[in-house]
């Protein structure tokens, strides 16, 4: 093999440290050539190797009676009964979206969808969890509308409905927007596929788009924080083709119905390198490919480029020997190029040839799992105690609480998100029983009574003040949202978005957040089935809020339990499960009214959280609950307002009286956890009381649904607003921020 001269600069420019390079030398017992160096640098990048995070991720609970597949595959898999398996996973596409918002977001959607159908599942829904800097800044508006446009452009065309998500805006995200996408699919339990090569001499088949120079070193880029010179990284932008992805979905699912395939893997980050190395190492085999057979879009591509290209809509398939013809026929039916580029071999070597000439030979496991695992230095930020200090007495009470509420409703973080989800087809497949706009989206499952409820949540502002509690709350809120939809929380996937792990303060945030997630998932019996870590979300040392995003899945045995957050009929009783404490720390209210990001996030008692969720679910299953809406950003007043607005058939009024002697602004806008506002028939009130009592959950009767005004009375505060004025404010928050 040709001996290359690998200079320290070359090593550094590949994002590898001297120690990591020595490790490569030791693994190979020789100097790598340039292609091999590139392969290592991509596979050992933070993005692909999880080298800074894996020792901590290992502490998360991943087992449970319903878990068929935990972390480690393309996606997690749950047994949801009726012989069905639910396949789901969340991925980040933050860095590509910062560079090219439309294509970055679009290819993010394409990538996560591939992760789902490679497991044999038909993708049925996408969720998008978004974070941007303030929309007062033109650059942020450009990123926001580009990202939403890309998700819509790709998701609508590929034919997978986008049914829910989040959108949150705060200054730190100006330094790096977050684009996390989750996809959910349904498979037959006995027809699952795994990305494990097997069967020596089985053909390795390349399917889909031709290879170009797209995204070369995208994987290493996704692991490098931005400096002002980020522009130079631009040529690595990948472009998506949702039409070809649709063909890939149909062709692959058609093939997976037969017995011709052994394994399927998509080519995402680190392209052909990652796909071959992971399939081989998972399967305990080797793979040999000849680049001469790789379909290409551009002339003169080198082995280095071919192995590292991140051209989209490409898959690698291991078929049974003798099935080549049938496989080719199916791809031909769907107008897809397929080429046999190699075969499964004995021993664990990944051998890459170019017209028969060896250009790389590396142990597959060395690439896939050989990266070092770091325990980087950890230290809380010096300012943390200062941040957490909040002197309420220094904060004047609002003169007019109605005006204060309108201010919150206008905030993009609380405002109506319809301008976003209206751009997404959220009805395709006829499953959407509870549409976006409510706490959880509820999707019925074909051929049965069952349904699933889903929500994605993560409050970065809480995590900035206390990453442990913030992450704990993210898990609790996601579960609470699912419960409000009528679902029994089953399991989570997640996306952990942080700054540079090489900074002790950031690493501390990460470790604390992982602790919080583990704690929450253990307490709520919702194991972690997979996820994704995105570090280096910062520009010139300015990092984002630490932002763990939780994707929670819940199950409804009967779709009849599906519940939404909107009040239904005049005369219904409005009640609060849980209790309101004087907690204003890290709240939306402080941010909107005083421009303050400080104080401790609300406390969370997991036993209480469980009890509240149990009570709500029990009441829903007894048919008592007309609507259920948990309290989150904006507190009780906003929660009540959201139950009045955005419902089919126009807004409906409410008239409530709040007890309690705490500061009125905390009473109205504080974000105490473990609270759910429900509405029910008056005649059902006693039954709800019994349930709450049985679970030792505080229950307060607040008032009644009806009328044309939003009326809210407390000991020391009053809100009395006409519905249309309230609705106008709420709808104005995001109006015309997305452009044409």
């Amino acid at each position: 093999m040709a001996v290359s001269v690998i200079t320290p600069d070359l090593v550094a420019s590949h994002g590898l440290t001297a120690e990591e390079y020595d490790r490569i030398l030791a693994t190979l017992g020789r100097e790598p050539n340039l292609t091999e160096l590139g392969m290592f640098s991509a596979m050992w990048s933070e993005h692909c190797s999880y080298k800074s995070s894996k020792v901590y991720l290992a502490t998360l609970p991943t087992k449970g009676p319903r878990v068929l597949q935990g972390p480690g595959e393309n996606a997690g898999v749950l047994d949801i009964g009726d012989g069905l398996a639910l396949v789901f996973k969340m991925e980040s596409h933050n860095h590509p979206s910062f560079i090219e918002p439309y294509q970055g977001a679009a290819t993010g959607v394409g990538g996560i969808i591939r992760d789902i159908f490679t497991m044999g599942a038909r993708p049925i829904a996408v969720f998008d969890s978004l974070r941007f800097g303030p929309l007062s800044d033109a650059k942020n508006r450009y990123l926001f509308s580009g990202v939403v446009g890309g998700i819509a452009g790709y998701g609508n065309a590929v034919g997978v409905p986008t049914v829910g998500g989040e959108a949150f805006f705060a200054e730190p995200y100006s330094s790096n927007p977050l684009v996390n996408v989750m996809c959910v699919g349904i498979a037959r339990k006995d027809r699952l596929f795994f990305a494990r090569a097997g069967g020596v001499d089985n053909p390795v088949i390349y399917v889909g788009a031709k290879t170009g120079r797209d995204g070369i070193h995208g994987a290493t880029m996704a692991s490098g924080s931005f400096d002002e010179g980020a522009e130079q990284k631009r040529p690595t932008v990948q472009v998506g083709d949702p039409f070809r992805e649709k063909l890939l979905i149909e062709a692959c699912l058609e093939l997976m119905d037969g017995d011709d395939l052994v394994a399927v893997q998509d080519m995402g980050a680190a392209g052909l390198t990652c796909a071959t190395a992971e399939m081989a190492s998972r399967g305990g085999t080797g793979i040999e490919i000849d680049l001469a057979h790789v379909p290409r879009r551009e002339r003169g591509m080198t082995p280095y480029e071919l192995m590292l290209s991140e051209s989209q809509e490409r898959m690698l398939v291991v078929a049974r020997r003798g099935s080549e013809e049938r496989v080719r026929k199916v791809f031909e039916k769907w107008d897809l190029d397929a080429a046999v580029i190699g075969r499964v071999t004995e021993g664990g070597q990944l051998r890459v040839l170019d017209h028969g000439r060896p250009v790389a030979e590396v142990p597959a496991t060395a690439l896939a799992d050989g990266a070092p695992a770091y325990r980087r230095p950890i230290a809380p930020p010096e300012e943390i105690d200062e941040w957490r200090r909040l002197d309420l007495s220094s904060l004047p009470l609002p003169g007019d609480y109605g005006t204060a509420l309108l201010g919150l409703l206008r905030s993009p973080n609380v405002a109506c998100k319809e301008p976003i989800w209206e751009r997404y087809d959220h009805m395709l497949f006829l499953n959407t029983v509870v549409r976006p706009g409510s706490d959880a989206v509820v999707l019925r499952l074909a051929g049965g009574r069952r349904a699933i409820a889903l929500s994605v949540d993560g409050n970065g502002r809480y995590c900035a003040m206390d990453p442990y509690r913030g992450a704990l709350i993210a898990v609790a809120e996601a579960a609470r949202n699912v419960v409000c939809g009528g679902g029994e929380p089953l399991a989570i996937t997640n996306c952990l978005n942080f700054g540079s792990p090489e900074r002790p303060a950031i690493m501390w945030q990460f470790v604390e957040a992982v602790k919080g997630i583990g704690e929450g998932c253990r307490a709520l019996d919702t194991p972690v089935t997979g996820g994704n870590v995105s570090f280096y979300n910062e520009t010139s040392g300015h990092a984002i809020f630490p932002t763990p995003v939780i994707g929670m899945v819940g199950l409804l045995d009967d779709v009849a339990f599906a519940t939404d957050q909107w009040f239904k009929t005049d005369g219904d009783v409005v009640a609060l499960l849980g209790e309101t404490r004087e907690e204003l720390g890290a709240s939306e209210y402080l941010a909107v009214r005083f421009g303050l990001v400080r104080g401790e996030p609300p406390s969370l008692d997991l036993a209480r959280e469980r009890a509240v969720q149990r009570s709500c679910l029990e009441a829903i299953r007894l048919g008592l609950v007309r609507s259920a809406h948990d309290c989150s950003e904006g507190g009780l007043a906003v929660t009540l307002a959201e139950s009045c607005m955005g419902r089919a058939g126009g807004p409906i009024g409410v008239d409530v009286e709040l007890g309690g002697t705490i500061r009125p602004d905390a009473l109205l806008f504080g974000e105490s956890q473990s609270r759910i506002v429900v509405s029910l028939r008056g005649s059902d009130w006693p039954k709800l009381q019994e349930i709450a009592a049985a679970h030792r959950v505080p229950l307060e009767r607040l008032g009644t649904v009806g009328g044309t005004r939003f009326k809210l009375r407390g000991a020391a505060c009053l809100i009395d607003l006409p519905l249309d004025e309230m609705e106008r404010a709420w709808r104005s928050g995001l109006a015309s921020t997305l452009g044409g």
Partner: protein, 84 residues
């Protein structure tokens, strides 16, 4: 009155899924010998005044700031007397 004709094209090497699809569509229609198809935008902007050079500078700036996406697109343009 001046007319600016602006051509916005995908940078070489950037995937043109639309162009590729149109190419194979033309081939199924029986057209042969097509090397490739690239699809871009054609903008016609009509401008007041008749100072060509100033106009060129303005159009250049329009392309840079809004009409073309420098990440994946190139642009070129001509400025002519209206009707031209």
């Amino acid at each position: 009155m001046l007319t600016a004709k602006i051509y916005v094209t995908l940078k070489p090497g950037v995937l043109d899924a639309q162009g590729d699809t149109v190419k194979s569509a033309l081939e199924t229609l029986g057209f042969k010998g097509i090397e490739d198809v690239r699809i871009g935008k054609f903008l016609v902007v009509r401008l007041d005044g008749d100072a060509r050079e100033q106009a060129r500078a303005r159009v250049e700036e329009m392309c840079r700031r809004l009409l073309a996406n420098p990440v994946i697109e190139d642009y070129s343009f001509e400025v002519e007397e209206a009707g031209g």
